[in-house]
């Protein structure tokens, strides 16, 4: 029996799917050492009076502005995700537990009724410290549909002109049990236009929203250039605008792919394409240069044509690598970016890397996936970071090659929904 059993075991074990490398072991050993050292030093700190150190503000990670960077020992326990629920046949925004994927709460629509965007899903979601989230909701009014052809069924009639759009930003908190509390409208966040991109500072004291104004024609074009980015102080409700501006014939800002803040809202950092445009409409024709620019101080407002260039894809190697997503670290020392490299022939590569700003240090690759033959839709991406900049969510690809998870030491730990229900937004 033992011999037969051994044969069965050999057949069952087969070949390991991955190799264990010395490098992986070395990293694990360093992490173990760091954890042990951390535990030891923590014991010492406790012995000399942790309470005193904390109350005196001595214990901080990173720079003073990076509050929250070390506040949780591990990745957040919950994340907020918006996905299509096939049973309910609608978009649902829910809180899910990271470890089990269980839905612990559903985020309600603050503006129910026709002409509200949140009933069909938010257009922007951002996380701040302590599992505080901000989401945008827009509501619009339309003129009655023209009745030139009264016999035409309602669904085929051309919709009436939009007469007004208003966007608001709501805040809520996810408790340690995954429930939602403190659902409220952010002071000063009622904006005229469509808010389609949002960011929050780590401490939640500032939010930024890119807003597309309603054109006089009442018809919003998909390639319409936004009015700019509003920075709102959530405490006082005061706001300032970083406007898009227009310089005929020049390579200029057209819209934001990603918005982030350093520290507690000190600098506003924007990733967006720079290209030539015609008036209020843009058509980069694939010739955009993706740039990460910092605008400081964030609350000052001004022109998005200015700012300091931190990173641009024309400087990346290999040539043709595109800067697809980018967030600044809370201390402003590095940009965490998604780089896509699709050579004319062969597979695409998606790399998540931490790229030091203005230093000679080498970028650090956090995760990499090759498209192979199955990984389609590399450009359908969702990338977000927790307020500390440490824990990253990546959702990319299409079909069975889709990956959705959080990056943990070079690997992607799956997050629900794993397959089928493609998330539209995920934040933690």
């Amino acid at each position: 029996m033992e011999r037969q059993l051994r044969d069965l075991m050999i057949a069952e074990a087969g070949d390991p799917p991955h190799r264990v490398t010395v490098e992986a072991v070395r990293r694990r050993a360093i992490r173990r050492r760091a954890a042990q050292a951390g535990a030891a030093s923590l014991a010492v700190i406790l012995a000399v009076g942790l309470g005193v150190a904390v109350s005196a503000g001595i214990l901080r990670f990173g720079t003073s502005a990076a509050r929250g960077a070390g506040e949780h020992a591990g990745p957040p326990r919950y994340y907020v995700t918006q996905y299509f629920d096939p049973k309910a046949r609608k978009l649902v925004m829910a809180v899910r537990a990271r470890a089990s994927g269980r839905v612990t709460a559903v985020v309600g629509d603050p503006m129910p009724g026709p002409g509200s965007s949140c009933g069909q899903g938010t257009a922007g979601l951002a996380a701040a410290d302590d599992q505080t989230f901000f989401m945008t909701c827009s509501v619009w009014r339309s003129a009655p549909a023209p009745s030139r052809r009264p016999g035409l069924p309602r669904q085929f009639r051309r919709p009436g002109k939009i007469t007004s759009i208003q966007s608001r930003i709501y805040r809520f908190h996810v408790t340690s049990a995954g429930r939602i509390t403190g659902y409220s409208l952010v002071k000063g966040s009622t904006l005229s236009g469509w808010a389609d991109n949002i960011a929050a500072s780590a401490d939640g004291s500032e939010v930024a929203a890119e807003v597309i104004a309603l054109p006089r024609s009442g018809r919003m074009a998909t390639n319409q250039v936004p009015e700019g980015i509003f920075v709102i102080n959530t405490g006082t409700g005061s706001r300032s605008l970083w406007h898009t501006g227009y310089v005929p014939g020049a390579n200029q800002y057209v819209d934001a792919m990603d918005i982030s803040f350093t520290g507690n809202g000190r600098d506003l950092v924007v990733l967006g394409p720079r290209c030539r445009r015609a008036g209020a409409l843009v058509n980069c024709n694939g010739h955009a240069d993706m740039q990460v620019r910092a605008y400081s101080p964030a609350e000052a407002g001004g022109s998005l044509q200015g700012g300091q260039v931190l990173l641009q894809d024309s400087a990346l190697k290999p040539r043709g690598t595109s800067l697809s997503n980018a967030f600044i670290s809370p201390d402003g020392s590095a940009v965490t970016a998604v780089l896509t490299d699709c050579p004319p022939h062969g597979a695409c590569t998606l790399t998540v890397a931490r790229i030091p700003v203005g230093a000679a240090q080498q970028p650090r690759v956090l995760y990499r996936v090759h498209s192979g033959t199955r990984f389609q839709g590399i450009f359908e991406r969702l990338f977000s970071s927790d307020p500390s900049g440490r824990y990253l969510i990546l959702d990319a690809g299409a079909g069975s090659g889709r990956v959705n998870g959080w990056i943990d030491h070079g690997r992607l730990v799956p997050l629900a929904p794993a397959n089928g229900n493609i998330p539209e937004y995920e934040a933690w």
Partner: protein, 170 residues
């Protein structure tokens, strides 16, 4: 120090697959197996010079591997299962036979206690002598024999596995 590092790298290169297979039979999950092997090697690395001077490194690493796994089991650690790809992928070809074998063996191994499973894998799959298994598991040779006998008796009770073994014998 460089020679020690070189020796460690050679050991990892040469033995990681065998260690992973053992770890897989213990855990029943490739991701956990990889994690277990990495942990065992990371624990062995700081003492590598001492280990190679006075012991067979593989015996030591296997000992760490089994002990680590037992600790994980004792803590009932069921943490995240890291994966480079999503598990929801279509299977290629006809896998009915393979699945039958796997399900049968997995079920049988899963019915054993961690100690019985460790003894069975080390004794049967790794083909280690009883004395070495006893050394790895910090117990007497008699305990290994008794545990092994209990494990086999339990496997014989499993109709799915008994059937498979009979099929193999034919």
């Amino acid at each position: 120090m460089e020679a020690v590092a070189e020796g460690f790298a050679q050991f990892v290169e040469a033995r990681e697959r065998a260690l992973q297979r053992t770890a897989y039979l213990l855990t029943g999950d490739w991701a956990l197996a990889e994690d277990l092997v990495q942990t065992a090697l990371a624990r062995a690395w700081p003492r590598w010079e001492r280990i190679t001077r006075r012991d067979d490194p593989e015996v030591y690493v296997r000992k760490v591997l089994v002990n680590t796994w037992t600790t994980w089991n004792r803590r009932r650690w069921r943490g995240e299962r890291p994966s480079a790809m999503m598990p929801d992928t279509a299977a290629a070809g006809d896998v009915a036979e393979e699945v039958t074998v796997r399900v049968g063996l997995r079920g049988a191994l899963g019915s054993l206690t961690p100690r019985q499973r460790a003894v069975l894998v080390l004794r049967v799959y790794d083909d280690l002598p009883e004395a070495q298994v006893a050394h790895l598991m910090n117990c007497a040779v008699g305990t290994v024999k008794a545990t092994m006998s209990q494990a086999l008796a339990k496997l014989r009770e499993n109709p799915q596995l008994a059937g498979l073994i009979e099929q193999e014998a034919r």
